[in-house]
């Protein structure tokens, strides 16, 4: 038990000295149940949040709260969780996860990764698909509102690309870029970014 300290019980403790302390308590006692300790999730049902771009995290939490992000998983899991958060806590959560150390990439199918790398870096001009790297960064680290993709679960990335294609997420720029990606290309890109 030496590795334990005594934060006990109340996830929304009044004695939290700062907004970031409060955010960390919520993250540890509630979010971590699915998103893992410090945002490194185990199950591909739930995205990894460690090291995610802060602006993107804030935008998504607000989208869950306003229910403008409406794919099935958002409805089933996050709409309710977002109601627990006020603006101050949302800011704290975004900062907390953005400052956690990202997890290493996950090895995958080498052929898929190779095909995904080409799409990620060069796009698919024949289908009007721009290179992913132009917004998400050469190393898929993301930038501001463009999310970090490196090390993200491939199954989660696939579901999000499909959700954006079907306009369940309010993401008009991304929709325009990927609307003509086929399922094989989606799988390849997802496998590639997961491995980064």
């Amino acid at each position: 038990m030496g590795a334990l300290v005594g934060f006990v019980g109340n996830a929304f403790a009044d004695d939290a000295s700062t907004a970031s302390d409060a955010a960390q308590k919520v993250a540890a006692s509630i979010c971590a149940a699915c998103h893992g300790p410090s945002g490194v999730s185990v199950s591909p049902q739930f995205p990894r949040l460690a090291g995610q771009q802060e602006a993107y995290l804030l935008a998504q939490l607000k989208a869950f709260k306003s229910k403008t992000r409406a794919e099935a998983d958002a409805h089933d899991y996050m709409w309710g969780m977002a109601t627990l958060l006020d603006d101050s806590l949302i800011a704290g959560m975004g900062h907390y996860y953005a400052t956690q150390t990202p997890a290493a990439g996950i090895a995958g199918n080498a052929n898929l990764i190779a095909r995904g790398k080409v799409i990620y870096e060069q796009g698919d001009a024949a289908h009007g698909v721009a290179p992913c790297a132009s917004c998400h960064g050469k190393s898929a680290e993301g930038a501001a509102i463009f999310p970090r993709l490196a090390g993200q679960h491939a199954a989660y990335v696939r579901r999000q690309l499909e959700a954006i294609q079907k306009t369940f997420r309010d993401s008009p720029i991304m929709h325009g870029v990927i609307k003509d990606l086929d399922s094989a290309q989606v799988a390849a890109v997802a496998e590639y970014v997961q491995s980064k």
Binding site: V8, Q24, V42, P44, Q45, W79, G80, L84
Partner: protein
């Protein structure tokens, strides 16, 4: 006697149930979902089977989310039961309302968090029973209940809850458990209330449900190691609300236990990717009075030991889960034997079950299960008798269950369940000692509608 319910009959039952349930504008969201704002699938593969997050929610004392002013939920079950041979050998029916729609039960749940450290649920059920003479009667009483206090300790970097610990007060052994390989919330999740089942079951498989008070302490460390120690006693005195509605005044109606009866539970849990698994063990000792109305009647002693395991792969669109358990019960009939109620001073009973489920899009499910019960021959414990008796005094029964499920929405489940017996109460053809009845004559098809709101 081999006819199955017609489609119109089944549809009539479904329609009638919807009318009963939704008249009055009941809300179609159970109270935990209202508390967390999350959907049923966040916690359940299919009610009541729990996901990893559902297990965490339960072990957290049901405290995640926002406290509701009126934390009420409801559940109702109606169905059509069809037994293969509804003639007991003398021209009398074996089950009531065979091939006819039957309303089975309706429950109200008081379920939710009270504080960030206290939560629970109390289920109160109205159950409809039917007699083979065509009459029916209703009965209301408490069903499963689980009240918890929980505490948490964080890791050194404070990024996760490393140790979850708590107290639980409940009224059915293993109802507090979070893996669906233990009996109280184990498969089958819904059974026909009128079908015929094997005579023998171990104490931990429901024999004490809604009759005892269990006060337990548990720890869950690193989402890996689970340990629990619970003591059970008769639910009388201040605990009498935990058996509210039970007939406590008639001999043989409820269990009366002597003193505290210990239950221990250990489990190793692992989660990786979309998968999780658990291997565990549990044990319980029970001192049970021969006559619940007479505290001088002496006790028989039961020792149940069980091993269980669970595997889950939960993804979209595919979900696969499997559970297994094996229970050995040592029955010390010191008092029953002295009274001439058993043929042996000691008996053994073994019970095993395996089950595997596949769901597509959390909507279409198929489950296969096999079960077996075997034990000592005891002609006084398992006497002969029409349909439910045993010719050779043995409890041995075995069979399989096939179940198809369809959830048009997450809180409505339509189910077709077929139970097949290859051995029943110790034998095959003529097993009951009074007729030529075969185990397969008890095969049962159940169409069922389950709704929670």
């Amino acid at each position: 006697m081999r006819s199955m319910p017609s489609l119109p009959q089944f549809l009539l039952a479904v329609a009638a149930s919807f009318i009963v349930l939704f008249a009055g504008g009941a809300q179609a969201v159970p109270s935990y979902a209202r508390q967390t704002g999350q959907a049923c699938v966040a916690c359940h593969v299919s009610f009541p089977e729990l996901t990893p997050y559902g297990r965490w929610f339960k072990l957290s004392g049901y405290t995640i989310g926002i406290r509701q002013d009126i934390p009420l939920a409801g559940m109702a079950i109606a169905g059509v039961t069809s037994i293969k041979n509804n003639d007991d050998g003398t021209g009398m029916p074996v089950t009531a309302r065979n091939n006819l729609p039957a309303f089975n039960q309706a429950s109200i749940f008081l379920a939710g968090k009270a504080t960030d450290n206290i939560g629970g649920f109390v289920q109160y059920t109205f159950a409809q029973t039917y007699s083979t003479d065509g009459t029916g009667s209703g009965h209301s009483g408490i069903d499963n209940a689980d009240l918890r206090w929980v505490g948490r300790m964080g890791s050194l970097d404070a990024n996760e809850v490393k140790l979850l610990y708590g107290l639980t007060l409940h009224n059915n052994p293993t109802a507090q458990d979070v893996w669906n390989s233990t009996p109280a919330f184990g498969f089958p999740y819904t059974s026909s209330p009128t079908a015929i089942g094997p005579s023998a079951a171990t104490q931990i498989e429901g024999a004490l449900g809604q009759q005892v008070a269990g006060l337990g302490a548990y720890v869950f460390y690193d989402r890996t190691w689970y340990a629990e120690l619970t003591g059970y006693r008769t639910a009388d005195g201040v605990f009498s609300f935990l058996r509210h509605g039970q007939d406590t005044g008639s001999p043989g109606s409820v269990a009366r236990l002597q003193g505290g009866n210990p239950y221990v539970r250990f489990a190793y849990n692992k989660e990786w990717g979309a998968q999780s698994m658990m291997v565990g063990a549990f044990a319980m000792r029970v001192k049970r009075y021969l006559d619940n109305t007479d505290p001088t009647s002496g006790t028989d002693r039961y020792t149940d030991r069980g091993l269980d395991a669970q595997y889950q792969y939960i993804s979209d669109p595919h979900t696969v889960t499997a559970q297994a358990r094996y229970i050995v019960e040592r029955q010390d009939h010191r008092m029953s034997f002295a009274q001439g109620l058993t043929a042996n001073t000691d008996d053994r009973l073994r019970s095993s079950q395996i089950k595997a489920t596949y769901y597509f899009e959390h909507r279409y499910g198929v489950t296969l299960s096999r079960f077996a019960i075997a034990g000592s021959a005891d002609a006084l414990l398992y006497p002969s008798g029409a349909v439910t008796g045993s010719a050779n005094g043995k409890p041995d029964s075995r069979g399989a269950i096939v179940e198809l499920d369809y959830l048009p929405v997450q809180n409505v489940r339509l189910m077709a369940q077929y139970t097949r017996y290859s051995q029943f109460n110790g034998g095959r053809r003529g097993y009951d000692g009074l007729s030529s009845r075969s185990p397969s004559d008890n095969n049962t098809l159940l169409f069922d509608l389950w709704v929670a709101y």
